[in-house]
Each structure stands twice: as structure tokens, then as C-alpha cells.
Symmetry: C2
């Protein structure tokens, strides 16, 4: 009798425990589904513009086109390298004349899902974003007129623009150039990460440590700023909500304040997407932190007022690794041939 009783109790306990675990597990998936969304395999349109093969082809050529820069040496892909998680593994961007830019290059991958572009959100979309670096003296240091003049010197570009904008009498404009780049960038998605498979209902897509990391990512509060489809890119937040951030990390950058000149926005930045984040050190707008563990730990204290312990950090980092999706397949574009009237690059 006693033995049977013990056995019964043990079985019951085991049943309850496993049931409990399954329930906790289901709960985690449900909570995750309510906070995040998987990256889709492709988009059909971006801001009302239908994504066509001709627009992608033009946009891809422009994205890889160093002759859009004054020097003829720097393209979009120089700092947003499609083979390097969409970024450049630099503290801050390298630009014209070997200048060091003010901020770390954000990834282009999935960037279409951000509420706005740049660390300070000063461009409402990728189209406006694309116009920035081409003109920034510290980046490509060109002018719209010079860029278009260069493109117009190459019949191959006239063909690409005409095909991408069939109804347009004069399609070779800076605006269309930027839009085509936007369209190409909207194809740079990274679906099918382990985390996305989990979000699609495959419980086994994440291991125990990754699930623990996901659970902590939610319970500690990370998901508040890093939620949604892009796990970030959804709003602006003060860097150092709970604890002042070291000056070496902040580098005097007032973030969105420069855009709005509202005191509320001092030291606020757009929360970056954490998708594929393991591929793109260094971290933060200043690019001063090279280790993902350290970055997570800093976020704990600075944003959440929590000292994350070693296990918390390594679990969360394991979870973040699970967001690395299938990287985009990009066939290198054969760029249009120059002609005698193509302006010579200028290194000065």
C-alpha cells in the first residue's frame, strides 16, 4: 500500500511536472507570438511601390555602384555589406578620404521593417535614407546632379531605368535612383531563422538554453524596445534610461535631439533591430562594444536597471544567435560600361 501510494504520488508528480513544463512551454510560445512576428520570405511592395524584377535589377546595380560616390570607390555595399550581415564590422563607417563617420553602420538586412532609418530616425524610409550617404561629405561625398550625370553617361543605366520606370519620360532622376535602391533593399530579408520557425509553431526549433534566453529576454524587459517583426526599430529610447552610460560609449552623441531639438529626445536613439545581431559587431551607435555578451550586459544595467548575471547574459546571447536567418542570395551585378563621357572619379 505504502509503496503503491508513493508510486502513485511520484507518477502524479511526474505527470503534473511534465504537464506544467509543456504548459510553460506553450505559454512561452504564446507570449513570443504576441510580441514578435517572423520575417516574411519576400515582400510584394514597399510603401505602395510594387517590387518588380526590373526595379530590383536597377536598385541592385545602384547599390553596388561605386561610381555613385565622388571617389568612385565607395558604394552602398561598402558599409552595408550583404555578405557581412548587412553591415561593415567597423566601429563607425569609413568614408571619402578615409574619414571615420560619426556612427556605426546599421544593417541593411530587414531594415525595411524599421519605423524610420538612421540611428536618429531622420529619414522616414529607405528611399530617403539612400539619398543621405551619397551626399554626406563623410561618406560618398557626391551631389545628386553629379551622380545623375555619371549615370546618364552610361547607356546601360538608361536601359535599366527605362525598364524599371516604363511609363516615365525622363526616368533618370535622383528620386527614382533612391526608390530603386529602396526596392532592392526591401528584398534583403533574412527569413527562416530558428527563432522564426519557433514563432511559426515549431517548438523544437529552439533548444532549452535558447528558450531560457527568450524567456529572460521577455521577462527582463528587453522586448519592450526590441519587439515586433524586427525585434527593434520600433521607437526611440534614451540610451541610459536607468543608469548613465559611460561617456566613452556615448561619445557625446545626442541622438535624435539633432533631428527634433526637443530636450526630451536628448540621447535617444532608435532601438536597433536585434535580428542577425551576432553577425554585426561592434554594437551601439558608437560601435564601441565588440562583444555581444558585453552589449547585453550594458543594456541590462543602462536600460533596465538590472545586473544580468552570467547565465542570464549567456542565455540571452544564445537566444539572439537563434535570430540569425537565411542570408540573402545576391548575384553580383554586372555594372554598365563607362563611356568617354563618364566623369573621372575624384579622390580629393
Amino acid at each position: 500500500m505504502r509503496k503503491t501510494g508513493i508510486l502513485f504520488a511520484a507518477v502524479a508528480a511526474a505527470f503534473l511536472l511534465s504537464g506544467g513544463t509543456a504548459r510553460a512551454s506553450d505559454d512561452l510560445m504564446e507570449r513570443a507570438k504576441s510580441l514578435f512576428k517572423p520575417i516574411p520570405k519576400e515582400l510584394k511592395e514597399v510603401k505602395g511601390v510594387r517590387i518588380t524584377p526590373a526595379l530590383i535589377e536597377l536598385g541592385k546595380a545602384l547599390y553596388f555602384e561605386p561610381r555613385l560616390s565622388r571617389s568612385g570607390f565607395i558604394s552602398c555595399n561598402s558599409c552595408h555589406n550583404v555578405g557581412m550581415g548587412g553591415a561593415d564590422f567597423q566601429q563607425t563607417a569609413v568614408g571619402h578620404g578615409w574619414q571615420k563617420g560619426p556612427r556605426n553602420s546599421p544593417t541593411v538586412l530587414n531594415a525595411v521593417f524599421n519605423l524610420a532609418q538612421f540611428w536618429d530616425g531622420r529619414a522616414p524610409d529607405l528611399k530617403e535614407q539612400a539619398k543621405g550617404p551619397i551626399q554626406a561629405s563623410v561618406e560618398m561625398n557626391n551631389t545628386p546632379a553629379a551622380a545623375i550625370k555619371t549615370l546618364k553617361s552610361m547607356p546601360g543605366y538608361a536601359k535599366l531605368f527605362a525598364k524599371a520606370y516604363p511609363g516615365d519620360a525622363d526616368p533618370m532622376t535622383f528620386d527614382n535612383l533612391a526608390e530603386a535602391i529602396e526596392v532592392f533593399e526591401a528584398t534583403l530579408l533574412t527569413p527562416d531563422s530558428a527563432f522564426d520557425k519557433y514563432l511559426e509553431g515549431k517548438g523544437k526549433a529552439l533548444g532549452a538554453v535558447e528558450k531560457s534566453g527568450l524567456s529572460k529576454f521577455i521577462s527582463k524587459g528587453c522586448a519592450a524596445c526590441h519587439g515586433g517583426i524586427n525585434m527593434g526599430g520600433t521607437g526611440y529610447y534614451k540610451f541610459g534610461v536607468k543608469e548613465r552610460v559611460a561617456e566613452g560609449l556615448m561619445t557625446g552623441d545626442k541622438g535624435r535631439y539633432k533631428v527634433t531639438t526637443s530636450e526630451d529626445d536628448e540621447y535617444t536613439f532608435k532601438s536597433p533591430s536585434l535580428r542577425n545581431i551576432a553577425l554585426t559587431p561592434p554594437y551601439f551607435h558608437s560601435g564601441r562594444v565588440w562583444s555581444l555578451e558585453e552589449a547585453v550586459s550594458i543594456m541590462g544595467s543602462a536600460q533596465l536597471g538590472t545586473m544580468l548575471d552570467k547565465d542570464d547574459v549567456s542565455d540571452i546571447v544564445a537566444f539572439l544567435h537563434s535570430t540569425t536567418g537565411k542570408q540573402p542570395k545576391v548575384e553580383y551585378p554586372i555594372l554598365p560600361a563607362p563611356t568617354d563621357s563618364t566623369p573621372e572619379p575624384k579622390l580629393d
Copy 2:
């Protein structure tokens, strides 16, 4: 009778003329076949090394790997851009710290067919060539040890090397790195140009102007230095055999003399391949000439002692355009992810 006689004479003349033209046309093709060879679609091996998918995959990653440079910003593809005829549209190469290199970047396309590499032939093959720019202070400014240390910090590279060198206990060497790049570069061929189709027997692959250009290219003497499969890359020749070259064009560069220190080699350079030449202005070792017409004209006077007239130049240029082949299809490599031990790039 008289009329018949005239008619007969006219028919005979027409017959003879057309026969004569056909014969001249056949002759041209035969002469061309004796001087040039079409670019093959692919190679099975390079200098005894079998070209395998694993070697290509490794070599391609390395070719696009900016972290092989001290700055983490410059890859082989920066100056030998596979989308820009295998070159960079720069007078001379841009390198570490925005330095301007001493010579124009030669194309990587079909470079495997050259008798040696660099303008002065100082590297016997692409494998030795690949080791140069990685270490040159004016290019990637790195060291073999630092490059290998960087690669060893990324497990993705360990896998790629192990796959490419399956029998090798310690495959991550600078020598294997260079060999893999050589193998990838040996896939960068441009077959199927109009000229190659002509060489394969399709008489109509070239138009009348192109054929006239080909005929002049041979009869004026261009083919003497620009013959063979690569239309160049077959020997070393003094720049200015017949007529002294302007100092602005020569830029004091003694060419192969630096390699051999033989007076005979003063101002001699390897004849560059003229395949796809229309894609890769500017021209000559100094990159001082941006127009292909002008380059052809200079060659006429400097090398052949001939003042080519306007028609000669435009016919030859039309012919040179016909050597532009199918550009290589390259899927952008997804580069291995960095780790916390991957050395930070250094811009200084």
C-alpha cells in the same frame, strides 16, 4: 554580241569580286585563328591544382573578404571588381589610408592566361600575385600572420578551409589562402564574345567595321604584342619602342627594370590583355588615358611608329569592343561570422 560580251565580263567580274571578298574574308578568319584563341567556358585545373567547388567557395569568400586588410575595409574585389570588368575605373588603385597606388589595377578577368602577373610580371602566377596586395602598405597593408589570425578566429573559415583541403592537417595557411584565391580567379573567365564566336568559325559574328578593325589590328602590328588567347599578357615590351612616350604618361615608372635590374628591361611592361578592354578605362600602367580611341592612337605611334588615321582607330576600337565576353556570374558570398576573438580592424 557586244552586249553579251559586256554582260559576260560584268558577271565574270562580279563572280571574281565576290569570290575575292569571300576569300579575303576566309583569309582574315584563318589569320585570326592562327593568332588568337577563344576564351574557354571553364578550366578544370590551374597549375596542376584541380578546381573543386570547395576551393572555389573558399577562394570566393577570401576574394570578397575585407577583413583580410588591416582596415577591414578593402578586399580583392575593391580594386578588381567582378562587376566592373574586373578592375576599378580608377587611375591607380585606392588603398589603405586612401593612398593612391603607383599603377592602374589590371583586370582579374581571364588573368589566369597571362604569362605572369602585375604590370612588371613580378609574380609568376595568380597565387603569388594574391599575396602581394594583402601585404602592400599602399594596398591592404596587412601581414600574413595577422590575416591568418583573423581567419582562424572565425569557425566558418575553419570549415571552408577543411572542406577545400580535406587531406590537410593544418589547412589555414597563407599559402593555401593564396591558392584558393587563385582558383576562384581562374573561374573569372569571359567566354562567348562576338570575336570568340568568330574565332569558332561564325563569320557573321563580326560586322564589317569590326572585321576591318580586326584586319587592321593584325596588319598594323598590334597583334604582335596582343596575340594569343588573352590578346596580350604574353610578353614584356618597351613602352615607346618607336616613339618616346610623354613623361606624363610614363610617370617615371621603369616597369620590369625594378624586377630584373637589367637595362634591357627599362620601361618595359607586360602587354595587358585587351579582352573586355572597353569595360576598363583608364588605360596604361599609369592610368592616364581615359579614352580607348586615344589609347589605340598612342599605341600606334609609340609602339608601331604609325600614325593611325581616324578610320583606323575607330575600326580597331569597334573590333576591341567585340572582345567583350560574357561577364562572370558570381553569387555574393556570405562571409563567416566574426567572434569575440576576431581582431578589430585598424584604420591607422
